[in-house]
Symmetry: C2
Subunit: 188 residues, 2 copies
């Protein structure tokens, strides 16, 4: 992440009133960081993984995933690569449409490491979210072909190959392995 | 890490009888991986950090840290960047000299991420060690200027700047911040 320096610290409210950037910017402890420009592997994993999640979660109204959704909670404003909500927790406005302003932590947060990203800065977002109500975090390392998962109050675990990955409890009938995730990188 | 492929899986005993490589090779789940060639920032952090630890731990015989020490336990053979042992657990032979073969997990394990390393593969070694008796793991991300620490049965935490880092209980009078760690990179 690139830190954009300001002479004085912006408040969260002031940050939220700034025009959005592309890639999105995040607000963490009074600093603004712009996400890195996604590359090919990041982009296809993000696209295909959210599609897979929604193919499983949407027909029975179990859960729904969104890419690049700004979630503002706990004093930070984060933009996860994929934010998944249990169906009943999808933030909607009075018209039943998705809210423009989301002020809860996603139930399941997925981050995909890009080559030039610092892992600690990305993992720190996952840990922060877990401490603010997120049930499950995935940290995908495309180079290592592994997925590290985070759950509250326990050590993370790293899964490879045929290892089955934990998913949201409402999606528990869906079995997905690390190999399944990385098979999304391939065009057949 | 680079995986060296063999046609048949080697046993741990067979692996330990191979001549050692430079950089060292590690044995994980029947596969052999060679550590990456350390670069400047990795090397100076490793050298100066182990020196600092031993300046604190050696005079009062509290703890001692070693670089590139092969530790074989739980069916894996790992070579941490820095392995620190409480004084009473330093593996010694009948002559009171350091053992050539170390078959316990270090009490404190420190890994420093190199630019071309996959974070999950490195963090996986820390998690494995914690599950086999290591009390504390540090994962240093020089690019992010942060230290993520691992302790048994809890989420890791990421520390920046003036944040004080946890050290071995026997060294608890030593206060070291993330900024102190990264100040080791500088020549004054």
């Amino acid at each position: 992440m690139t830190s954009v320096q300001f002479t004085s610290k912006l408040s969260l409210e002031e940050f939220l009133q700034l025009p959005d950037t592309k890639p999105a910017s995040e607000y963490i402890d009074g600093q603004i960081y712009q996400k890195t420009m996604p590359q090919g592997k990041h982009s296809i994993l993000q696209t295909r993984l959210v599609t897979s999640i929604n193919q499983v979660g949407e027909p029975q109204q179990l859960a729904y995933g969104l890419t690049e959704l700004r979630c503002t909670f706990g004093g930070r404003s984060l933009v996860p690569d994929i934010a998944v909500f249990e169906w009943s927790r999808i933030p909607v406005d009075e018209d039943g449409e998705i809210s423009n302003r989301v002020e809860i932590a996603p139930d399941w947060l997925i981050e995909i490491l890009s080559p030039e990203q610092s892992p600690n800065s990305v993992i720190n977002k996952i840990i922060f979210s877990i401490k603010h109500g997120t049930q499950l975090g995935w940290f995908i390392d495309p180079n290592d072909k592994s997925v590290m998962f985070f759950q509250p109050n326990q050590l993370p675990e790293v899964k490879y190959n045929a290892d089955i990955l934990p998913v949201l409890t409402v999606l528990e009938n869906w079995q997905v392995s690390a190999a399944d995730v990385f098979s999304l990188l391939k065009f057949k």
